[in-house]
């Protein structure tokens, strides 16, 4: 199965042709568009990004049954991990969530009455919950890995929260799409409503992979680093 994973010699354009969602990851690595026919290795070198690390993330985003084991992580430059995760959080909280909120409020205002109010309330609660979740990670998990990567022992105990709260967040995003396209009156701003559904679906898929990276890469990697410090 590892044969079909993306590799450094492949053209970045071919990888994006295979999975267009990867375009959304490029800004998180600081890779601009306009890369022509360059290979992943060349593009990453030019941007000063570890190509191995970038490929690891692209592979997780593309191949649903692919998860690197700890041996792969040990042999990959994982120093960009926290920066990457922080950039992802920033993309969600500063760009996608406000964008979706603006559309949702626009639609909710047109729907009006109880429906509109309920919808806004649900979204507001969801947004608070996810923002708080990111903050906890940024205050606990991320600094812990940074200390470990700097060779300092860090005895902070991490809460066993992630798996469960990740799946709750993904469930809520799925619920939101269901509510919007199944139960809202269909005759109010139909085009904008469809766009909204696609925006939420896109974000839900993105966050699902993001959660997978935190649960199956970040958490075991922190545990391994901690063991190897002893």
């Amino acid at each position: 199965m590892n044969n079909r994973l993306f590799s450094k010699k492949m053209k970045l354009a071919d990888i994006i042709a295979a999975n267009h969602n990867i375009i959304l990851l490029l800004p998180r690595f600081g890779i601009p568009l306009g890369f022509g026919e360059k290979s992943v290795g060349e593009v990453c070198d030019a941007a000063g990004v570890s190509a191995d690390f970038m490929l690891l993330i692209c592979n997780v985003y593309t191949f649903d049954d692919y998860l690197p084991d700890i041996e792969v992580l040990k042999n990959t430059d994982m120093s960009p991990l926290i920066h990457y995760l922080l950039e992802s959080h920033k993309y969600y909280t500063d760009e996608r969530l406000p964008h979706i909120e603006a559309h949702l409020h626009h639609i909710a205002d047109r729907v009006g009455g109880r429906y509109g109010q309920i919808l806004k309330q649900f979204y507001g609660d969801f947004r608070n919950e996810i923002t708080e979740h990111f903050q906890i990670e940024e205050q606990l998990d991320f600094p812990k890995l940074i200390s470990l990567q700097q060779g300092q022992a860090d005895h902070r105990k991490l809460p066993q929260h992630h798996d469960k709260s990740h799946s709750t967040l993904v469930d809520k995003m799925n619920d939101l799409t269901q509510i919007v396209y199944k139960y809202l009156p269909g005759n109010v701003l139909p085009e904008e409503t469809m766009e909204l559904v696609f925006d939420i679906l896109q974000l839900a898929a993105d966050i699902q992979k993001h959660a997978l990276i935190e649960d199956k890469i970040l958490t075991p990697y922190i545990a391994w680093m901690e063991r190897s410090m002893k």
């Binding site: 309920i118 649900f122 969801f126 709750t168 469930d171 809520k172 619920d175 269901q178």
Partner: protein
């Protein structure tokens, strides 16, 4: 407040019907629907009348009683069927009924028997998994509203007098039917559908 259990009585004798209605209404837990004097039109009536409990005189069943009973139960899976017995009924026919009500019982025996039927049925009823209908049953709606109000499965079980296991089966069916998993999402569903 617990909703009244609505009871449909299928019985040709007016004396028996009014007597039974009187006993049921005294308990304050039942809403007795207008009676039917024979069972031939029951199939058509069940979906609109939606009783929670059916009490039927077994002598009114058709020549194929097993099919007839199972068609009623398919229409209202959450509705226990009780045989109302006061005359000779063939034993093979009686065996089709899980619950029997003998009219020679005292009023308090009748009340407690029916209460135990309702409780027992709610307890043992395994909510059907892949039912074709995507509409929530009455019981599922009850559970949905309590979930939406933020009650835990244990609290719901206590409130509805059913087991936690049954509550969880209902919750699974609700999610299967609505596509919604989170409590907050179910609350939105309940509000949009004016259930609370």
């Amino acid at each position: 407040m617990k909703a009244l259990t609505s009871v449909l009585i299928v019985e040709p004798s007016e004396i028996i019907f009014y007597g039974l209605r009187c006993i049921l209404e005294e308990t304050g837990s039942y809403n007795v629907l207008s009676p039917m004097s024979d069972a031939t039109l029951l199939d058509e009536k069940l979906p609109s009348v939606r009783p929670d409990l059916l009490i039927v005189n077994p002598t009114l069943l058709s020549a194929t009683p097993r099919q007839q009973l199972s068609s009623w139960m398919a229409l209202r899976p959450q509705m226990p069927v009780v045989a109302l017995v006061y005359q000779y009924v063939d034993e093979a026919l009686m065996d089709l009924f899980k619950y029997r009500l003998d009219i020679r019982r005292t009023r308090s025996e009748i009340a407690s028997l029916l209460k135990s039927v309702v409780d027992d049925y709610a307890e043992n009823e395994e909510p059907a998994e892949n039912t074709e209908s995507y509409e929530l049953s009455d019981r599922e709606t009850d559970v949905l509203v309590l979930v939406a109000k933020g009650l835990s499965s244990k609290e719901i079980a206590d409130k509805l007098n059913i087991s936690v296991h049954t509550v969880n089966s209902h919750r699974k069916n609700i999610t299967h039917k609505t596509g919604i998993k989170s409590v907050a999402g179910l609350a939105v569903y309940a509000m949009i559908h004016n259930l609370m």
